[in-house]
Amino acid sequence: MFFYNLRLARQSLAKQPLLTALMVAAIAVGVGVCMTVTAYLYSISGDPIPNKSDQLFAVRLDGWAGDEPFNDDEPEQAPWQLTHRDAMALLESDVPVRQAAMRKAVYTAVPDNADIAPFLTISRMTANDFFPMFEVPFEFGGPWDDRYDQSAGNVVVLSKKTNDTLFGGENSVGRQVRFGDERFTVAGVLAEWAPKVLFYDVNNGPLNPVEDVFMPYQITAEREVDGSGNTNCWKDERIDTYWDLLQSECIYVQFWAELPDEQSVQRYQAWLDAYTDGQRDLGRFERPNNNQLNTVTDYLKIRQVVGDDELAVWSIAILFLVACLVNTIGLILARFIAKAPVIGLRRALGASRWAIFRQHLVEVGLIGFVGGLFGIGLSYAGLLGLRKLLPDTAALTSLDLTLVLMTVVVAIVAAILAGLYPTWRVCRLQPAMYLKTQ
């Protein structure tokens, strides 16, 4: 019966091509616009590390000014970053199975090969735990040894791109690279790694690319490396030297901990609270304890990686789809009422209401399906347009299979929703009324 109904639907739609085109266009445009925005949000809001996002925690301590919260609009939020002092103290905890304090710095890579011009690299100053913690894939070698974290040794992990530039993509483990004035030994080379969102440091834009090189955090303190990224300070204190900065209440360090289960989360929370209590006794931490552990997804939510603007546009896009559906309901109703005589005849010949209902549901479903196919095209065009408008997110936005299927399903469901009322109406038609021509 389904294929019979499908054939009837095809014939019926082909019979009034203009009206059919209007209905398909309304569905396609509605779904196209809605799915373009949805696909964009889906791309930037997806869980960047689904395997363990609930075991990775951004660690935040609230050591901000006693008389003023870090963020006036959301006073319950602890500051985004840590001071260097606190980050170093937190590294003493043995609760997390892995942890890393980190910040960004800018280095000039000076290739030994004079044919390659020196170039600028963004370096993530971090710990060797960073790599296994965030499941970073290696092409060659691996993370540096623990002792380099302690001693601020000159070791580096190169991104694939940096290794391609410096060594033509060869295995460079053990070789030397000059950054600025110093020489570093390559410990490892990453394979292609591009998380959807730079979740571990969204301070300078969540959609920035992954850093070019990775080095031990301790180098920054030992060699007085100027960090890049955000630094926020609240305290009236003199900062003349690098040492002043390290000892200041200025925050510029990101800190992540891996806590595999609920029990360790609680233990770590207690550990942090005990730490800040102790610091309060020393005259720091003027505010009550507000030490926060946020999973990756919570953290991205708090940091509003998907902001109000995006959500406002999304809600308008959904309303847009609704408006297109109302439009479609009107057209389908008109179309079905025009078919009333034939429907009456089918009823007279023994079609039950249910049979008529199914037949017309198949018809609107077909409209939805065709609309969905065009909708995919429109969403694709829409995303291409968005890539032009927002080059930063270009790499993220794509129509994957999930989205393509979702587009068709949304279109069919939308069309069926739109068709439900008209279909119900035609089922209620009294068959006798349409059999006489007079």
Binding site: L22, A25, V29, V33, A117, F119, D309, S315, L389
Partner: protein
């Protein structure tokens, strides 16, 4: 006009009428709110920055290695840049305005308790800064070449002697004074500098920062190893200067990297990307929705005309003129549109209220509603006029035909 019969005909076909009205209402709500949001963004992007955006290029120099001499490099670079034909002025700078990168801190007018602290976005500039940005110093004077502190100065960690601030910051810090020139500007630990000039207006680093107009200039060079150059050109010379500077600077000195030659216009555009994307997406959505709604009305009206062929023929047979038929359909559509617009007004404000609650958008300017209503009346009129004209062409002879 025969409003009564039209209304009763609409009542008999109330589902269809309700659907048209509902669609008009939704379209109004979406179109008005979207155009309001889109226009707000466009206005936001179009705010005057005070800077001669169109004629400025910027470039970065980043030194490396032990041979690099920061001050000597900047001296040579500035001499080179300022000698280029078409260049009006050039300044070494710690940051580029409206680039998203910069520094800010709190400033006060005095160190007395309770003296308010204001945020100031500070830039390291030299004596050509006003010329290089194309901004006006309306009170006092600009920096003198001798006042610019070099990076090798032993006092480089201390606050400089002089500062220039924007009028917006001056008005906040010294609201009771006729001019801020001659006043002292304090930082959070009590160091101070003399204000020697006031800039009429300029934007700082972050286009979404609420204090974007509160800017402080320091007569210092950025600490090694990097610096920006801001270069203002004569009108029409920008693009040729842009293509020259990178190879010239790169060739002049091998102890640094020259990066990112860029027009300021491009940098600003990148910083407003989210806003302009939002405005564009909303504008496209408005256009598409108007199109869909218009075509929907055309489709429904054509359908109605076809359904009523016999009735229309009968009307014609008993003496209705063509224009009476046209008027009938126009009136019917006008009524449905108007009902939709009344409903739509409620919906528009509901949506605006919800959006403002959920996403912190601003409250609607009623003129947008009025403009939206006029647009939809016009759209309804245009959409129905075709089918109405076709209806008027139906032959009166239809009446006697037994279809």
């Amino acid at each position: 006009m025969e409003i009564g019969p039209i209304l009763s005909a609409m009542w008999r076909n109330r589902t269809g009428s309700v659907l048209v009205a509902l669609q008009i209402a939704l379209t109004l709500a979406i179109v008005v709110n979207s155009s309001f949001l889109a226009y707000e963004r466009t206005e936001f992007i179009g705010r005057p920055s005070g800077i001669d955006e169109k004629n400025i290029v910027t470039i970065t120099s980043l030194g490396f290695g032990s041979d690099y001499d920061h001050d000597a490099t900047i001296d040579a670079d500035l001499a080179l840049l300022r000698s280029l034909p078409g260049v009006v002025a050039a300044t070494a700078s710690g940051h580029v305005p409206m680039s998203g990168s910069g520094s800010a801190t709190g400033y006060r007018a005095s160190m007395e308790d309770g003296a308010p602290m204001e945020n100031g976005n500070y830039f390291e500039f030299d004596e050509q800064a006003d010329e290089a940005l194309g901004v006006n110093i309306i009170e006092g004077r600009g920096f003198l070449p001798t006042e610019i502190r070099r990076s090798d100065d032993p006092n480089s960690e201390r606050m400089p002697e002089q500062a220039i601030i924007t009028k917006a910051l001056a008005d906040k810090l010294y609201p009771d004074l006729s001019t801020a020139v001659g006043q002292r500007l304090f930082n959070n630990v009590g160091e101070s500098a003399e204000i020697i000039g006031v800039v009429e207006h300029m934007f700082g680093s972050w286009v979404h920062w609420q204090n974007i107009e509160q800017v402080v200039w320091w007569p210092v060079r950025r600490s090694p190893p990097s610096t920006y150059y801001i270069i203002r050109t004569q009108p029409g010379q920008r693009d040729s200067v842009l293509t020259q500077i990178e190879p010239l600077l790169s060739a002049s000195n091998r102890t640094r990297i020259i990066r990112n030659p860029q027009t300021l216009e491009h940098t600003i555009k990148r910083n407003y990307e989210g806003d302009s994307a939002m405005a564009t997406v909303l504008t496209i959505a408005i256009g598409l929705l108007m199109m869909i709604t218009g075509l929907g009305i055309v489709g429904l009206a054509s359908f109605t005309v076809r359904q009523r062929t016999k009735q229309i023929g009968t009307r014609r047979a008993i003496g209705a003129r063509k224009r009476d038929i046209i008027r009938y359909f126009l009136t019917e559509n006008w009524l449905m549109t108007t009902i939709g617009l009344v409903l739509g007004t409620v919906l528009t404000y509901t949506l605006n209220f919800q959006l403002s609650q959920l996403f912190d958008t601003s409250r609607l300017d009623p003129w947008y509603l009025i403009a939206g209503m006029l647009a939809l009346w016009l759209l309804g009129f245009l959409a129905v006029s075709g089918p109405a004209r076709r209806a008027s062409l139906i032959s009166p002879a239809i009446a006697t035909r037994n279809v």
